[in-house]
Symmetry: C2
Subunit: 277 residues, 2 copies
Amino acid sequence: MRTPADNAQLALLLEVSGTPKPGNVDRRHEYEDLRFEHFLAGAVGAGAGLRAAEAGATVGAAFEESVEGMRHQRGGNTQFGCLLNLVPLVRAAAVGPLSPPAVRDVCAGTTVADACDFYRAFDYVDVAVGDLPPDVDLPDVGLASDATAAIREQGLTLWDVMERSAAVDANAREWVEGFPRAFAAAERILDDDGPATDRVARAFLRLLAEEPDTLVRAQHGDGVAREVQERVAEVGDDLDAAAALAEEYVDRGVNPGTTADLTAAAAFVALERGWEV
Amino acid sequence: MRTPADNAQLALLLEVSGTPKPGNVDRRHEYEDLRFEHFLAGAVGAGAGLRAAEAGATVGAAFEESVEGMRHQRGGNTQFGCLLNLVPLVRAAAVGPLSPPAVRDVCAGTTVADACDFYRAFDYVDVAVGDLPPDVDLPDVGLASDATAAIREQGLTLWDVMERSAAVDANAREWVEGFPRAFAAAERILDDDGPATDRVARAFLRLLAEEPDTLVRAQHGDGVAREVQERVAEVGDDLDAAAALAEEYVDRGVNPGTTADLTAAAAFVALERGWEV
């Protein structure tokens, strides 16, 4: 049977294969410089880090290793956010029954060293991040070596970093709340039927209809993020209608990547809870 | 960087993603009961066996483990033939420079125990095999436990089994000849340009134009196998023309699976020789 690390790798592959996911790379859509093949290579390369998480590595070390492995392809950042979600989920699944409190405990147990590892992972790929509110004090992710000194000086754990980022990053919010949206989406995947890649696409559409995508907000502003949310909500579960949106958003370069990260987390939880592919 | 086992897993994923590959499952084509997602899960599940091959397991044991891992999905046999090719290639790449003589040495060094492991792998999935010529004496693959007794009694190594199967199975022929077609196809992948999945599709088309597919021959007869070869040869490198053939052959259920297995081997060799995805 597949281990938690295997399921995480499969979740990465099912996420990128689910189609249509308007604006994202999928089986039928890609960008000229960010293609389907880059995500395949990213998922393979992340394997060792995911297996380290399963075997007991700290969240930060396993995350850094998975991102270092992921980067050996020409697309740049393919799955940084997915891995940020998957690593604590794999840790939690490796040590006991997977549940929101169990993964929240893993996240709450992270240390200053985990936070330093997290910042080091930004050295491997360019990651788009939203501006923090003016009252939030966190080192800039563009300066890993300086950042780790500041992290140590302030005594920030990875949990602290995520808590301070939660207002602008839906992944960070999931992280400190025990992944409630991912667990709910996993239940919908389990209740759904049909091909796995269709189920993943419907899970993505529903997540995107729930909340504006924080990567779209960071890259294109709140107005575009709300427009995407509203138009996807109108589409509902209709994959044919979503396909037309997919063409449009790829043309416009509007990529709801945070929702894809949450979808990968949801696919992982569904696989751990018995989803047979 | 990716290890040989990682490259083998990526080769499996690139193979199934290459489109169009007339008659095969790919990013844009699938059968109702054999879908893209089954190949993703098969590639993930095969990982542990491929890593065992890299770490020094015997060819037979690593192959059996990889097939056992592959089968945990609902599509049945997704990558049996691919893994038969990839396991000795991974072994050869793990111990030194990868070359046709090096992999031929690995294959020539297989034992009776490897042959027994190979037969046991047929218990995990239904594998379509061609009828052997009347003068070839090999145990039936449908009866693993009886077969291993017969294998031991006759003292057949896995190399012997492949040598006796070479007339009806292009994978077996490659196996005993040091994978000449796969190495040649790898050079073409390296010389080609454009997206990885297009290169894989063109490598597949060229391999299929060279020789009739032995799985098509086993399932549909020599006439259909030659028809496929000739029509693919007419298409040449034209992926748009190949796309029309892909629709037709999926509708007819004509699946040139052995050529897909050779394509996975070619993708692996290309990755080991520096193909950057």
